[in-house]
C-alpha cells in the first residue's frame, strides 16, 4: 500500500474474562487502512469482526482486554496506550462510528437535531446558533428531506433509514479521518440499504473519509470495499484487494463463503455448503482453525496452524494451500 497507513492494527489479540476462565476471541489480527480507503471486514457470527472494531474504539468493556499487539492511528500513536479521556476525544473526533441499530445509540429523550448540535458544541466548541445551522446543513447533506423540520423530531418518529442518516450526520460533523461502520445497513430494507451505501461512498468521495466497514454480507463488500479482510474464528483468514478476493479467493473459507451465498442472478440446484459450524472460543480445533470444515484439507492442516502466507500484490492468506486455492476454478 502506498504511503503510510491511517490506521495500522498489528498483531492484536483480545481476551474476554468469563466467570471461570478467560477466552481469546481475537488472535494475532493485523490489517491496515490507508487514508480515504474503504476497508471491508467480513465474517460470520463469532468471527471476531465486531470485536476488532470495538478494540479500535476502546469499547471492549469491563471484561474485555487487549493482551497483545497495537493499534496505531496516524498523528496520535498507539490507541491501546491512550488513557480513557484521550481515547474519548479521538472517538467522535478523528474517528466516527455508526452501528446496526441507531436506536440504541441515539438518545430517545432528545430531538435528533439537538443531539447533532451537542456534538458540534462539545467536540468543536461551535457556538449554539452556528452549531444548529450546521446540524441542519448536515441533515441536508445526508439526504434527510425537510431538514429544518426533522431537526425537531425524536428518534422514535423516524424510520430506520432516516435514523441511520441521523447517525451518519452525527458521526460526520467533526469530519473524522476514519468512519467505523458496524453492519450499518443490516437492519434496513434492501432499497434503503442501497441509498445508505451510496451516501457513504459519496461522503468518502467528498471528504476523503476512510471507512472501516464491518459486515456479514459479501454483496455489500463487493459494492463498497477497496480492500477486504476476511475473518474466521477470531483470526484474519485473508486480506486482498476486493476485486482479487471476489475473482480468485485465496482462502478456502472465502471461497466457500462466496459460493454459499444464493444469488438473484442465477439459480443453482444445490447451494454449495460449508459443513458444520464455526468453532467457539473455548473449543478451537488444533492446527488450522478452519480445517474441520475445509474442502481442501491436507494432513498438516490438522496439526500445524497455518502461518500468514504472502501471495504478492498485497495479498496474504492464512492457509497452507493458498496458492492452490487461488488457481483452482471457482
Amino acid at each position: 500500500m502506498p504511503g503510510s497507513p491511517l490506521l495500522n492494527i498489528d498483531g492484536l489479540s483480545v481476551c474476554f474474562r468469563g466467570e471461570e476462565e478467560s477466552r481469546e476471541v481475537l488472535r494475532q489480527v493485523s490489517f491496515c487502512i490507508a487514508p480515504g480507503e474503504i476497508m471491508g471486514v467480513v465474517g460470520e457470527s463469532g468471527s471476531g469482526k465486531s470485536v476488532a472494531a470495538l478494540s479500535v474504539m476502546g469499547l471492549l468493556g469491563a471484561t474485555g482486554s487487549i493482551t497483545q499487539g497495537s493499534i496505531h492511528f496516524e498523528g496520535i500513536g498507539d490507541l491501546t496506550r491512550l488513557d480513557p479521556g484521550a481515547l474519548r476525544a479521538v472517538r467522535g473526533g478523528k474517528i466516527g462510528m455508526i452501528f446496526q441499530e441507531p436506536m440504541t445509540s441515539l438518545n430517545p429523550l432528545m430531538t435528533v437535531g439537538m443531539q447533532v448540535t451537542e456534538v458540534l458544541q462539545e467536540h468543536l466548541g461551535v457556538a449554539r446558533t452556528a452549531a444548529r445551522r450546521e446540524a441542519i446543513d448536515w441533515f441536508d447533506k445526508v439526504g434527510i428531506p425537510n431538514p429544518d423540520l426533522r431537526y425537531h423530531d425524536y428518534p422514535h418518529s423516524l424510520s430506520g433509514g432516516m435514523r441511520q442518516r441521523v447517525m451518519i450526520a452525527m458521526a460526520m460533523v467533526c469530519l473524522p479521518k476514519l468512519l467505523i461502520a458496524d453492519e450499518p445497513t443490516t437492519a434496513l430494507d434492501v432499497t434503503v440499504q442501497a441509498q445508505i451505501l451510496e451516501l457513504m461512498k459519496d461522503l468518502r468521495q467528498r471528504h476523503g473519509t476512510a471507512i472501516l466497514l464491518i459486515t456479514h454480507d459479501m454483496g455489500v463488500i463487493a459494492r463498497m470495499a477497496d480492500r477486504v479482510a476476511v475473518m474466521y474464528a477470531g483470526e484474519v483468514a485473508e486480506v486482498a484487494q476486493c476485486r482479487d478476493l471476489l475473482t480468485a479467493p485465496a482462502h478456502p473459507y472465502t471461497r466457500s463463503l462466496l459460493a454459499a451465498m444464493p444469488s438473484v442472478k442465477r439459480r443453482l440446484d444445490r447451494l454449495p455448503i460449508i459443513p458444520g459450524q464455526m468453532p467457539s472460543p473455548g473449543a478451537m480445533p488444533t492446527g488450522c482453525r478452519f480445517h474441520p470444515r475445509c474442502p481442501m484439507i491436507i494432513e498438516k492442516c490438522r496439526e500445524l496452524p497455518a502461518p500468514m502466507q504472502s501471495l504478492g500484490g498485497g495479498r496474504i492468506a492464512r492457509c497452507w494451500r493458498a496458492a492452490a486455492a487461488m488457481e483452482s476454478p471457482s
Binding site: H216, A222, A260, S263, V264
Partner: protein, 313 residues
Amino acid sequence: MSAAVLKVIGVGRTFGTPDGTLTALDDVSFDIASGETLGIVGESGCGKSTLARIVLKLLPATRGRIELEGRDVTVLAERDMRPLRRSMQAVFQDPISSLNPRMRVGDIIAEPLRAAGLGRAERTSRVREMLSVVGLAPDTGERYPHAFSGGQRQRIAIARALAAAARIVVCDEATSALDVSVQAQVLNLLADLRGRFGLSLMFISHNLGAVRHISDRIAVLYLGRVVEIGHGAHIFETPAHPYTEALLAAVPESIPDQPMIPPLVGEIPSPLHRPSGCHFHTRCPKVQARCRQEDPLLLPRRQGQEVRCHFPR
C-alpha cells in the same frame, strides 16, 4: 402440477389505529400447488408477515378466505381447525421463541404424533427418524432447545413440521437470522424434503437470493398488495413491474464491478396513508400522470406472469 393445497382468495386485513385505518393487506389472492414453493418478497410494511399470520389462522382476515386442501378454514371453529392445523406448519425466524424451552427436543417433535394418537414406542422411533431426516443425531432428542445453535433449532422446527405430516409449511423469514453458511444448509434441507415428502412451502423472506433459490413461483408485495406474481425465473430475469426491477437492482451481489444503478428514491409510504392511484407512483422512476389517479389492476402479462402496472415492461 397437481391441485392446490392452499388457496388464498381476496384476502384483506385492516387494523384500526388511533391515527386511522391501516390497510395491511388488500385483495391478495394466490394458490400453492402440492409440492410447489411460492416465495413471497417485499420490504417492511408490505404485509408479508400479516399474510403469514392470516394463512396460519393466528389472525383473522377482514375480507376474503383461505382454503386448505379444499376446506374454507376462515369459517372453521378452533375445534374443527385442530386436525387441519397439523397439515399446515410454520417455521419462524427465531426458532427459540417457538420451541418450548422446558420441553426436550424429542417431546417437542413428538407432540403432533401424540395428538394423532400414536403410541409411545412408535413416537420414539418416528422422532429418531425425523431427527435423522433433518440431519441431527437421533439421540439429540434428549436435550433441550437452548443447547442448540440457530441452524440446528431451525432443523428441529422443520422436524416437528415433518412429524405432523404437514402438507404445507409456512416459512416466515426462516433463514434470515442464520449465517450464510448455515442458511445454505437449511435451504438445501428444505429443497430435499420438498422432493422427498411432496411438501409445499410458502417461503416469506426479505432475502431475494434465498427466495430465488428455493421458489418455483414468486409473489412481490408492495403496501399490502401483490404487484407481480409469476414463475421465479421470469420474475427475476424479466421483471415486468418497476418495483420488482428496482428491488432486484438494489440487491448487492458478490461479484466485482457491478454497474451502479441509482437506488430507488424515498422509502415505503405508511400503510396508514397509501398513495392515490398506483401505490408505487411516489417512488416509481417511470411514473406518468395516469399512475397518480388510476389504480392499476393485477392483469396477466406473459407466461402466467401477472402485474399491477399501467406501463409494465
